[in-house]
């Protein structure tokens, strides 16, 4: 297997575990699929398109949970620690790839596997122990109900190895809360309810230890590529600052630019911003810095609130915590944000969806749709920090109003009605991250057409946000969105971290990205060949959605972004009216060679990309 695989960087083997049959098997990775889909999101999409019948219940035993690495994992290439966990999402009802950093991905490769496919459902709680070649399904009855950190502690103790890396779910995953996440050591595969899929399989955790290595065809070439990338990470302006301030380095600048989403997106300027910036976080709670495997960016912060009502220890906070529980809920206390982050980790909840669900409930309360009777006595106003923390716990326990909010804003607003759908900030069921598109047309059409809905990893507003391209021009924005899709999906397949955006992108696949992939695999891709792989991957995912019944009508933005202009600040007046979005969609589909009526790839496009097998399903 390992040494004879055709392409460098791969192990050449997948591990498959059927929990219903308690069957563990190893199978070769298909060389042509590796070449055509690389790994991570792209390869998982191809596998799941092949193996999942359409329209299955995402929380039923037919769904499969795929942990997939990429060729760069486990090499010295920096920012390449990431891995993908993929399934049909119970939150968006289509293919979903949730990407995470840390050490789990490289460790899985060191154990001898490019990926792990989990299928079926165990008849009782279990965990997997992958110890190189030896793989066991172990009883996890004693772990059920425990939070992810406690679970990891117990598993490490019972295996007797502090160096193992562990993926685990919390109580939210066990309860199949549709936005439950998976915690991998300290890193989260946060979005899309992959934790609920894992919980539906009665799979509490996966522990892995590997002692092998990754083979590359030309070590000197990989070394030189890694050194050049490290140099670029250290000197590229938009990457600098991550080491000192982490991802919240942008909070103050975004507020100044009028693009810090606030009060459930009613506005984009937060008056309490000063207390929750990256600078304020560094000065108040950060005690250290952490990095993922072989990464020189060092973006993770280790923060401690040592005492008081918000006593907590977290890895973060990241920008999305500060956006979600800070400006969106109008809470300007960094210690509260640390506590909110810790609670989400302990319950195993995606913090973006949790925060946006609470903010939606706050707006319901503000508008009189909810009263104290609905909120279990909590005065759920914007800015009520303790009320917000109570609601996280209620969502985690699915108790009182928390049981409704645990369904997410799309479903909760459908149940509540009374116009609350208008301020449910979601697309395809998934709540919005902290990156606006109201002033940015390419970002808008990218979000609308993205397979995961509210994900800033299907599109990045950076080109328009930085002024690299003119945000006020509509022409060419469909093409820009498509090319940003391409560098993102290629990176999610190789797998490298999007925080290296200025180097990997930012407007199309960069030569640095191609160089890194070529160095590790031994391929000799030029731009056109790399772009074709990315286009194939994007179309593969679109085919999955189309087979599930998604069409052009599902490519939408939250009503607020189409109907309510930004009310103040430098971006005052910005929004994306419905007719503008439709025009942008036409532009995007045309550039992609997709059918304008359905928004699906055409026969010609699928043939061009070698995806003929999907023609019978969607054309």
């Amino acid at each position: 297997m390992a040494n004879s695989f055709k392409h460098g960087g791969y192990i050449g083997q997948l591990l498959r575990v059927n929990l219903t049959a308690k069957r563990i098997s190893k199978e070769p990775l298909k060389e042509d699929w590796a070449r055509d889909f690389v790994g991570g999101a792209g390869l998982s999409a191809r596998i799941l398109y092949e193996e999942l019948p359409p329209k299955i219940d995402p929380l039923g035993p037919q769904n499969k949970l795929v942990f997939m690495t990429g060729p760069l994992n486990g090499t010295m290439i920096p920012a390449a620690s990431r891995a993908a966990v993929c399934a049909k999402s119970p939150y968006t009802n289509s293919f979903f790839h949730s990407i995470f950093g840390g050490y789990f991905g490289p460790e899985l490769k060191f154990a001898g596997y490019d990926g792990l496919i989990v299928e079926g459902r165990a008849d009782r709680p279990v965990y997997l122990w992958i110890d190189d070649d030896r793989v066991e399904i172990r009883d996890a009855s004693h772990l059920w109900g425990k939070n992810p950190f406690k679970t990891q502690e117990i598993i490490r103790r019972e295996i007797g190895d502090e160096e193992i890396h562990i993926a685990t779910i919390g109580p939210a995953g066990e309860a199949k809360t549709p936005f439950a996440m998976i915690l991998l050591d300290i890193r989260a595969a946060g979005r899309g309810g992959m934790g609920a899929v894992m919980g539906s399989k009665n799979l509490k955790a996966i522990a892995v230890r590997g002692t092998g290595s990754v083979t590359v065809p030309n070590m000197l070439k990989v070394y030189n590529t890694a050194m050049r990338l490290n140099e670029l990470f250290a000197t590229t302006p938009a990457v600098q600052g991550l080491s000192r301030y982490g991802t919240p380095r942008n909070v103050a600048a975004m507020n100044e630019g009028g693009i810090l989403p606030t009060r459930n997106w009613q506005t984009e300027i937060f008056k309490g911003m000063k207390n929750i910036t990256g600078e304020a976080m560094r000065e108040s709670v950060v005690k250290g810095d952490r990095a993922c495997f072989a990464c020189s960016i060092n973006c993770t912060k280790y923060s401690v609130v040592p005492k008081g009502p918000y006593k907590s220890i977290i890895n973060g906070a990241d920008y999305e915590t500060i956006y979600g529980f800070g400006s969106i809920c109008e809470v300007d206390n960094m210690e509260v944000l640390c506590k909110a982050d810790e609670l989400c980790d302990e319950y195993g909840l995606d913090l973006i969806s949790t925060a946006l669900s609470i903010a939606w409930a706050m707006e319901c309360y503000e508008k009189g749709i909810f009263t104290k009777k609905d909120t279990d006595g909590i005065e759920l106003k914007f800015g009520n920090a303790d009320g917000m923390l109570h609601m996280i716990e209620k969502i985690g326990k699915r108790e009182g109003l928390g049981a409704l909010l645990a369904k997410g804003t799309r479903e909760a607003s459908r149940i509540v009605g009374k116009g609350s759908e208008k301020f449910a900030i979601q697309n395809k069921g998934m709540e919005w991250p902290g990156h606006t598109c109201r002033p940015f047309p390419a970002a808008a059409v990218g979000y609308a057409t993205g397979p995961r809905g509210g994900s800033h990893h299907d599109i990045r507003p950076t080109a328009e946000k930085s002024g690299l391209v003119d945000r006020k021009v509509l022409e060419g924005k469909g093409a820009l969105a498509a090319e940003v899709n391409h560098w993102l999906i290629l990176c999610d397949s190789m797998l490298v971290c999007h925080l290296g955006e200025p180097i990997w992108g930012p407007t199309k696949i960069s030569q640095h990205t191609i160089n890194a992939l070529n160095a590790v695999t031994g391929w000799e891709l030029d731009y056109a060949a790399a772009r074709k792989i990315a286009e194939r991957e994007w179309n593969m995912i679109r085919c999955f959605s189309a087979r599930e019944g998604f069409t052009r009508k599902d490519d939408q933005l939250p009503p607020r972004f189409m109907e309510e202009p930004v009310p103040e600040g430098p971006m005052q007046g910005s929004y994306i009216p419905k007719e503008t979005l439709e025009r942008l969609k036409d532009d995007y589909y045309t550039y992609r060679g997709w059918d304008l009526k359905t928004g699906n790839p055409t026969k010609e496009k699928l043939t061009e990309l070698g995806l003929e097998f999907a023609i019978k399903d969607i054309c």
């Binding site: 140099e231 000197t235 100044e256 600078e279 990241d318 990156h435 930085s466 925080l499 200025p502």
Partner: protein, 101 residues
């Protein structure tokens, strides 16, 4: 008879690592008679040298990287709008281009 331009002092607001180089969130910069945004940045690069160049110039091309500038709360672009005039008392904020986590 030509009217000679007067000297201009502007307030410059910065954040994160640029703030760290400048030493304060807001500083005052005398741009002399070079009364354009480009002149302001030339003055800043002159005053703060390599540490600021490392943050504003592309390491591969040496060109100014793209970012937004709030000139009296109106957003302009570093890539195309550097010839905007500035006058005494103006406020300039550097909105640096970064994505999120």
């Amino acid at each position: 008879m030509p009217v000679e331009a007067t000297m201009a002092k502007v307030k410059v607001k910065t954040f994160s690592v640029i703030r760290d180089v400048l030493g304060a969130e807001t500083i005052e910069v005398d741009v002399g008679r070079a009364q354009t945004v480009e002149g302001l940045f030339a003055a800043l690069l002159e005053r703060y040298g390599k540490p600021l160049k490392n943050l504003l110039l592309d390491p591969e091309t040496g060109e100014m990287v793209p970012f937004l500038i709030a000139l009296n709360k109106t957003l302009i672009r570093s890539t195309v709008d550097m010839n905007h005039t500035i006058k005494d008392g103006d406020e300039v904020a550097i909105i640096f281009p970064v994505g999120g986590g």
